[in-house]
């Protein structure tokens, strides 16, 4: 019968990941029936977990998400999908002052969800089938008060991105909005070009950017001097931000 020290050591080794298959099996059986041992293991796992953050992140391929979303959908516990109004530019133009969006935002905020999720709630629901070659990504970029300000849509297959303002934005010739892709991990923001407060702009998408665009990627808009950031990195604050989601077909 293992004594307390041995159990502690065993818990630590299990959390470290150094036990072989047979030993892991023994520990897992004990975890099922020994509450205090389970807590010991959980404490060790917690203490060692920051080591996981020492590795540079690696982007999963898009297929991993599609498989996951499909399998989650088929899981027994799936509740009804969360639906949202369509965000095609024509229907957005038909809405005066974006009031239905505001109501949707308030609904999501009432659930205690962050502004990013609120913006995500406005955009399309996740595609569950493998996408057709031409997937459309949409993001609503909003400010800190969750007011939507920009609608961005990207077609990586067509190598192009569109961005338009939503509602009217205060004009200021000294401060030009510039759109950035946030690739995540350690990588710096990538400029996707300048935006126009008065209308839609179309921007070509370079090969690297096209590879990086996808479900869940974050975008931000900063205010820069005329002509855009002189340094290639944002020099102004991120006034608006949002998350790219796939439009359902």
């Amino acid at each position: 019968m293992a004594d307390a020290d041995d159990l502690d050591g065993l818990a630590a080794e299990y959390a470290l990941g150094v036990l072989d298959a047979a030993e892991r099996g023994e520990v897992e059986r004990r975890l099922g029936r020994d509450e205090s041992f389970r807590r010991l293991v959980e404490a060790w796992e917690r203490q060692l977990a920051p080591l996981a953050m020492a590795l540079p992140p690696v982007e999963p391929r898009p297929e991993v998400w599609f498989r996951l979303a499909r399998n989650v959908r088929y899981a027994r516990n799936t509740a009804e999908p969360v639906s949202a109004p369509s965000l095609s530019p024509s229907s957005a133009a038909a809405r005066p002052s974006g009031r239905p969006w505001r109501r949707q935002l308030l609904f999501w905020r009432g659930l205690g969800l962050g502004a990013s999720l609120a913006a995500a709630g406005l955009a399309a629901f996740i595609v569950l089938r493998p996408p057709p070659a031409e997937v459309r990504l949409i993001a609503v970029l909003h400010d800190a008060q969750a007011e939507p300000a920009w609608l961005v849509s990207a077609r990586p297959g067509q190598e192009r991105l569109l961005a338009r303002p939503v509602g009217s934005l205060a004009a200021d010739a000294r401060q030009v909005p510039e759109l950035w892709l946030l690739p995540g991990g350690d990588r710096p923001p990538i400029s996707l070009g300048l935006l126009d407060r008065d209308g839609t702009v179309t921007r070509p998408l370079g090969e690297e950017v096209r590879r990086l665009l996808g479900q869940g990627k974050a975008l931000a808009v900063s205010l820069e001097p005329p002509g855009g950031s002189p340094t290639g990195s944002p020099t102004g604050p991120a006034v608006w931000e949002g998350v790219l989601l796939e439009e359902p077909s």
Binding site: G9, G17, Q47, A52, A54, V58, W65, V72
Partner: protein
């Protein structure tokens, strides 16, 4: 409003999303996955060496996240630690099933030889827990520290570690036990 420097997944956001996942919100799962997936894949990849099994482990882990989200509570610790545990267990199970260590020579997908120590500018330093652990790791001697880090990142058994480090199994076992206890004492100071 947030600045544009790359951020650590912050625990408050992760918790909000995980609670929404527990209520069966798939968009929250997407956000959780987008935010944490790359860090978790890095872990699985370091252990399994090739993309396919690593992405399989990631996929399986997130199915477990979906299933177990209702059981998560703040008392269990930060969300990221909880996710890391699920992914590591999924990866370790696969690793143990394959019965042997995959050496770097057999892993054509790996572009460069990964470091065997946490680098100076790594993301561990972004959190209080990470800084504490880093400080305590630095108090260990070099070889035992390397044994701990290698064991954690690559999921090596005592025998594999011993062979990798060129030391007897008994030495490695006692290094690990002693170092783990010293780490805990240091962290609980």
């Amino acid at each position: 409003m947030a600045d544009l420097r790359p951020r650590e997944p912050d625990d408050a956001s992760l918790r909000v999303w995980l609670e929404a996942v527990a209520r069966r919100d798939q968009q929250a799962l997407a956000l959780l996955y987008a935010q944490t997936g790359p860090h978790l894949l890095a872990l699985a990849l370091r252990m399994l060496k090739r993309r396919e099994p690593a992405e399989d482990a990631l996929h399986e882990a997130f199915l477990k996240v979906w299933e177990r989200a209702p059981t998560y509570e703040a008392a269990k610790g930060p969300v990221m630690a909880w996710l890391v545990t699920i992914v590591r267990n999924a990866s370790l199970d696969r690793l143990r099933r394959s019965g042997r260590e995959v050496t770097l020579d057999e892993a054509p997908g790996l572009v460069e030889r990964p470091s065997e120590e946490p680098g100076p500018a790594d993301l561990m330093l972004a959190s209080a827990e990470g800084r504490a652990l880093r400080g305590c790791l630095d108090e260990l001697e070099a070889e035992p520290r390397q044994a701990i880090v290698l064991a954690y990142w690559e999921g090596l058994t005592h025998e594999q570690l011993a062979s990798r480090l060129g030391r007897p199994v008994g030495t490695v076992k006692s290094w690990l036990r002693r170092s783990l206890m010293r780490l805990r004492d240091c962290l609980e100071r």
